[in-house]
C-alpha cells in the first residue's frame, strides 16, 4: 500500500476518549504505512464479527472492516466503537483495596494477599463451599475453563456459576432435554435457505444486527418470515406476519400452533415415528390448546395463530429461531421446549434451511458455558451424573476424582445461600450484577453483606464499587484465546497490544492466586495456548469436543464449529444431519409443555406489563458501552416505551417524565410514545445503572429448570411524573478515595 498521510484537527465537541485526553489533543495523524492490522473478532455479542484492529505506536487506533470472516465486513455501531475501550482513560490500571470504606490504590502483592487471607479465613471458619466464583461469558473460553477449574481445584468449592445464567440457560436446558446436546442445531445462515422462518422473542436487528442479512436473503428469495414479538421491531416490520404477543405467554401461542398442526394433519408422522420419543404425550398436552384459547391468553388474533401454524406446518423447510424474549421467563425452558416440539412434529431438523436455532447473546455465550464455569457441567459439556466424565477430567487435571467437588447450584440459588450466610465470599470475574441481576435492591444488599467480594474487570463497574478488592484485568484485545459464537463456531481472538499499566490477564491472575493458595502445581501455564491445549484434552470425547481444534487451524477466517474430535475433522456447522440425537437410542425427545402464567400478572395496583430488553448501541450491563462517546451520543439514556392509547389514558405525552413503580422499586424515565408496542405493555432497556436501572423494577423469580430470571414480564404502575427524568449517572472511574 502506498504511503498515505492524513492530517486532521481533533474533532471539536466529539465526546469520546480522544476528547478525554487519551490521544493527542492537538493535530493528530494516522499513517497507515506504519500500522499493523491485527485480525480478530469483536468484543461484544454472539455474532462475533471479524474485524481488524488498527495498531500504531503500541496503541489500538481504529478498526478496519474484515471481509474474509462470516460477517463479510459488516459491523454494528458497537463493533465499530469496540476498539475505543482499549486506550480508554477509565481503564483500571492498578489494583484497588477497600480501606476505611474507600477503595484506594494497592500493589498486586497487597491486593492478592488480601484476597488469599480472606479465602483462607472464610474456608477455615465455614468450609470450602463458603466461597463461590462467578464468571462472565465475555471472557475467552480459556479463561472460563480456567475459572471453573480454579473454583473446583484452587478453592475446592462446588459453587461456580456464570452470567449465562441470565442468558442462554433456558435454551441450553431445552436443547439438552430434547436433543441431548446444548448448542444451536442449525447455523443462522440457514434462515437464508428456508421457506418459512419463525422468529420468536428475538430482536435480531438490535441485538444481533449482522444476522439481519440472512432474513433479507430469505425475503428476497420469496420466503416467509413470521415474527412473534410484543414490539414492532425492525424485523417485525419486514415480516409477512407479525404476532404481537403479550409478554410471558409464548408457550400458549406455540402450544396452539402445535394443536393446529396436529388437528390439521400437518405432522410428519414418518419422522416422528423414526426419530423421536414422546409425541403422544406432547400432543395430548396441547389437545385443549386451541387457537381461540391462545388468542385470549396471548392477545393476538385467532386467525393469525392459525395462519402461522399452517405456514409453518405446510412448509417443506422451516426454521424456528428464538432468543431472550422467549427465554427470560419462569416458562423459559418450557417455552423453548414448545418451540422444539414444532420442529420435531414437522420433521424440521438436520437439513439446510430446516431446523432450530438458539441465538446466543454474549460474545462467548456458547464457549463460556461449555467447559466448566457453569455449576452443573465439567469441560466438554460433561455432566456430573456421569462417573466416566469425572474420571476423564480428573485424569487430565492430574488429580484424584474425589478431589473434584460435587455439582454446585445456579447463581440465583446461591443468592439464597449468601443471604443465609452459607456463602460468604465471591470472586467475580467479568460481570456487573448490580445492573444485570433482577431486583437490584436485593442484589445490592447481598453483595454488600459478603465478607469477601473480589472483582476482576477492565473498568470499575457499579458492582466493583462494592468490592473489597478490585483487580485490573486485560481487555479482549490484550491477550489471545478462542470464543465460540452463536453458531458454535470457534474463532480466534488475537492479541493487539499489551495491557495498560499494571493490568494482568485473568489467566495470570488465577494462576497467581492458585500459587498463593499452594495449588500452583495444578495451574502452571505459560499462557493461553497451554490452557487451550489442556482444554482440548479435557473436552475430548465430550459433547462439546474441541480436541481437533488448534490455534493454527483457527487462522481460517471461517473458524471451526464443534464438535471437532480430531485434527482432520472439518467441524460440524449443522447438527443432526444423520438424524441421530444425543441420547443412547439416538432419538430426540418431545417434552409435554403446559402453559403457566408469568410470575406476576398485572392487577389494579400495577396494571401494566413491564418487559425489559436491549438497545443496539449498548451491550449487557453497559460497563463498556456506557463509556464510549459515540455510543452514548446515539443512546444516552434509558426510556419507557408506551403505546399512544396508554399514554393518552395516563395523560402522558412523548418526552414526558414517567414514574415506573413495581413492588421492588421505582424510577423516573423519559416516555417514548410509540405505536410499535402493545398497549398493555411497557418496555425499558436495561443497560443502565441505578437509579435508572430497569432491574430496580424486575422480580426475583426464576425458571425452576434453568434458573433464568423472569425479566420479560412483571407488573408495573405507570404515572406522569412531576419530577424530571432522573439524570444518567456517570460510569464509575477509579478516582482514589472517592468511593463509598
Amino acid at each position: 500500500m502506498s504511503r498515505r498521510r492524513f492530517t486532521m484537527p481533533t474533532p471539536p465537541g466529539v465526546d469520546d476518549f480522544h476528547a478525554h485526553g487519551a490521544a493527542s489533543t492537538g493535530d493528530w495523524e494516522t499513517d497507515r504505512a506504519d500500522e499493523r492490522w491485527v485480525p480478530t473478532h469483536c468484543s461484544f455479542c454472539g455474532v462475533q464479527c471479524g474485524m481488524y484492529l488498527r495498531v500504531a505506536g503500541g496503541e489500538v487506533i481504529g478498526v478496519e472492516p474484515r471481509m474474509d470472516t462470516p460477517n463479510r465486513g459488516k459491523l454494528c455501531p458497537k463493533g465499530v466503537a469496540a476498539y475505543q475501550q482499549i486506550e480508554h482513560p477509565d481503564r483500571l490500571t492498578h489494583p484497588l483495596v477497600r480501606d476505611g470504606g474507600h477503595l484506594r490504590r494497592a500493589t498486586w502483592d497487597e491486593a492478592l494477599d488480601r484476597v488469599v487471607a480472606g479465602i483462607r479465613r472464610i474456608q477455615h471458619e465455614s468450609g470450602r463451599d463458603a466461597l463461590a466464583t462467578y464468571g462472565g461469558a465475555s471472557m475467552t473460553t480459556e479463561k472460563t475453563y480456567l475459572l471453573g477449574k480454579f473454583a473446583r481445584l484452587g478453592l475446592g468449592t462446588r459453587h461456580t456459576d456464570y452470567n449465562g445464567r441470565m442468558c442462554m440457560v433456558s435454551a441450553g436446558a431445552a436443547n439438552m432435554s430434547a436433543f441431548g446436546i446444548d448448542r444451536t442445531a442449525n447455523p443462522i445462515s440457514d434462515v437464508a435457505e428456508t421457506d418459512v422462518a419463525l422468529v420468536i422473542g428475538a430482536n435480531v436487528p438490535e441485538t444481533f444486527p449482522i444476522f439481519i442479512r440472512h432474513f433479507w436473503t430469505l425475503i428476497d428469495r420469496g420466503g416467509t418470515l413470521i415474527c412473534v414479538d410484543p414490539r414492532e421491531t425492525t424485523l417485525a416490520r419486514i415480516a409477512q406476519l407479525h404476532l404481537s404477543v403479550r409478554p410471558g405467554t409464548d408457550a400458549a401461542l406455540l402450544n396452539a400452533m402445535l394443536h393446529v398442526i396436529v388437528e390439521e394433519g400437518l405432522v410428519d408422522q414418518a419422522f416422528v415415528d423414526a426419530h423421536t420419543v414422546g409425541f403422544d404425550e406432547a400432543a395430548a398436552a396441547v389437545a385443549d390448546s386451541t387457537p381461540g384459547r391462545a388468542s385470549q391468553i396471548c392477545g393476538v388474533p385467532t386467525d393469525d395463530i392459525v395462519t402461522a401454524a399452517r405456514l409453518y406446518g405446510r412448509a417443506d423447510k422451516a426454521m424456528v429461531n428464538h432468543a431472550r424474549g422467549l427465554e427470560h421467563q419462569i416458562m423459559g425452558t418450557r417455552n423453548a421446549q414448545a418451540a422444539i416440539n414444532l420442529c420435531l412434529a414437522t420433521g424440521n431438523l438436520g437439513r439446510p434451511g430446516a431446523g432450530y436455532g438458539t441465538i446466543t447473546g454474549q460474545g462467548n455465550g456458547q464457549g463460556g458455558r461449555e467447559h466448566g464455569q457453569k455449576c452443573d457441567q465439567l469441560p466438554g459439556q460433561r455432566k456430573f451424573d456421569d462417573p466416566g466424565a469425572i474420571e476423564h477430567v480428573a485424569a487430565v487435571w492430574g488429580v484424584d476424582p474425589d478431589e473434584i467437588p460435587e455439582r454446585g447450584v445456579p447463581i440465583f440459588a446461591q443468592l439464597d445461600l449468601m443471604e443465609a450466610g452459607a456463602i460468604r465470599g465471591v470472586l467475580n470475574f467479568c460481570s456487573n450484577p448490580i445492573v444485570s441481576w433482577p431486583d437490584q435492591a436485593r442484589t445490592h444488599k447481598i453483595l454488600e453483606g459478603l465478607d469477601l467480594y473480589v472483582v476482576s474487570d477492565l473498568f470499575l463497574s457499579e458492582s466493583a464499587l462494592l468490592a473489597d478488592v478490585v483487580l485490573p484485568s486485560a481487555a479482549w484485545a490484550e491477550s489471545e484465546g478462542v470464543i465460540a459464537n452463536s453458531d458454535a463456531r470457534v474463532f480466534k481472538i488475537n492479541k493487539a497490544v499489551d495491557p495498560p499499566g499494571e493490568a494482568r490477564t485473568d489467566i495470570e491472575i488465577l494462576c497467581e492466586l492458585a500459587r498463593r493458595l499452594d495449588r500452583g502445581h495444578l495451574f502452571d501455564y505459560d499462557g493461553p495456548r497451554a490452557v487451550f491445549d489442556e482444554l482440548r484434552r479435557a473436552s475430548r470425547g465430550g459433547r462439546a469436543d474441541y480436541y481437533g481444534i488448534t490455534y493454527e487451524r483457527l487462522d481460517a477466517p471461517d473458524g471451526i464449529a464443534w464438535p471437532c474430535p480430531d485434527e482432520d475433522h472439518p467441524g460440524t456447522p449443522r447438527l443432526f444431519e444423520d438424524l441421530r440425537f444425543g441420547f443412547p437410542d439416538g432419538r430426540a425427545r418431545f417434552n409435554a409443555v403446559a402453559y403457566e402464567p408469568p410470575a406476576e400478572e398485572p392487577d389494579d395496583d400495577y396494571p401494566y406489563r413491564l418487559t425489559t430488553g436491549r438497545d443496539v448501541a449498548h451491550y449487557l450491563s453497559g460497563n463498556q458501552t456506557r463509556r464510549l462517546g459515540y455510543l452514548t451520543d446515539q443512546s444516552p439514556a434509558p426510556w419507557a416505551e408506551v403505546h399512544p392509547d396508554t399514554a393518552s389514558a395516563l395523560d402522558i405525552a412523548d418526552g414526558d417524565a414517567v414514574r415506573l413503580t413495581t413492588r421492588r422499586g421505582t424510577t423516573v424515565l423519559t416516555a417514548r410514545v410509540v405505536g410499535t408496542i402493545r398497549p398493555d405493555t411497557v418496555f425499558v432497556p436495561y443497560h443502565w445503572a441505578p437509579p435508572i436501572a430497569a432491574n430496580q423494577l424486575t422480580i426475583s423469580r426464576f425458571d425452576p429448570t434453568s434458573g433464568i430470571p423472569n425479566y420479560k414480564a412483571c407488573a408495573v404502575k405507570v404515572e406522569r411524573s412531576a419530577e424530571p427524568a432522573i439524570p444518567v449517572p456517570p460510569p464509575p472511574v477509579p478516582t482514589e478515595g472517592s468511593h463509598a
Partner: protein, 189 residues
C-alpha cells in the same frame, strides 16, 4: 460522468442501527466526524428509518460545488464530489443551503463545512466506503446497478430525482419499489 461502483440506498432495509454513522467517523479523510444522516421517518408510528448519504450529483453537477464562491468543492473525473478543501473554505455555508439532500455539515467551532467524499481514501484504492461496507442489512450497498437488481426482486434502482421542476441525476442511487416512477419526486412542484 458515471461512477463504476456507487452507493445504493434502500430505505426499506434500514434497521436504524447507526453503524453507518459510527463507521463514517472512522474514515481517515474526516476522522472523528460523521457525514452520515440517519433519521427515523416517524418514530411515533413506525420503526422505519432512512439513511442519507451524499448522492454525488452529476447533472446538474454538484449544486454544492456550483454555489461555492471560492471553488473549495471539486469534482474528480470519477464523479466524486469532494469535501470542501479546508484551506479554501470560508465557512459561508452556501453548500449547506444549496444541497438538495441536506448533506454538507457546518462545523460551528472550526467555521468550516464538510461533506462525504465517498471515502476517497478507500474507494480510490478499491476498498468500499465505510458506511456501505459495515451496513448490516445492505440498506447501503456499494456496487453496481446490475448486482442490486439481480439480488432484489420487485425493486429497481433510480438515479434521477425531481425537486420541483428541476430534475437531478446523481452518482449514487436509490433502491425503490419496482412500480415507483423512474423520476422520483422528492419535492413536488
Amino acid at each position: 460522468m458515471t461512477m463504476e461502483r456507487s452507493i445504493f440506498v434502500d430505505p426499506s432495509r434500514c434497521i436504524g442501527c447507526g453503524a453507518c454513522v459510527a463507521a463514517c467517523r472512522e474514515c481517515d479523510s474526516h476522522r472523528g466526524k460523521s457525514m452520515m444522516n440517519l433519521d427515523f421517518v416517524d418514530r411515533g408510528t413506525s420503526t422505519a428509518a432512512l439513511p442519507t448519504v451524499c448522492m454525488h450529483c452529476a447533472d446538474p453537477v454538484a449544486p454544492c460545488a456550483q454555489v461555492c464562491p471560492v471553488d473549495a468543492i471539486l469534482q474528480t473525473d470519477d464523479g466524486v464530489v469532494h469535501s470542501p478543501d479546508v484551506s479554501r473554505c470560508i465557512g459561508c455555508t452556501n453548500c449547506v443551503h444549496a444541497c438538495p439532500w441536506g448533506v454538507p455539515k457546518f462545523d460551528v467551532v472550526e467555521q468550516l463545512a464538510y461533506k462525504c467524499n465517498l471515502c476517497y481514501d478507500r474507494t480510490s484504492v478499491g476498498l468500499g466506503p465505510m458506511c456501505a461496507t459495515v451496513c448490516p442489512s445492505d440498506a447501503l450497498y456499494y456496487g453496481t446497478a446490475a448486482e442490486v437488481e439481480a439480488q432484489r426482486p420487485n425493486r429497481k434502482v433510480i438515479d434521477v430525482f425531481g425537486f420541483g421542476e428541476q430534475a437531478v441525476q446523481t452518482g449514487n442511487w436509490m433502491v425503490v419499489p419496482a412500480d415507483a416512477p423512474d423520476l422520483l419526486p422528492v419535492i413536488t412542484a
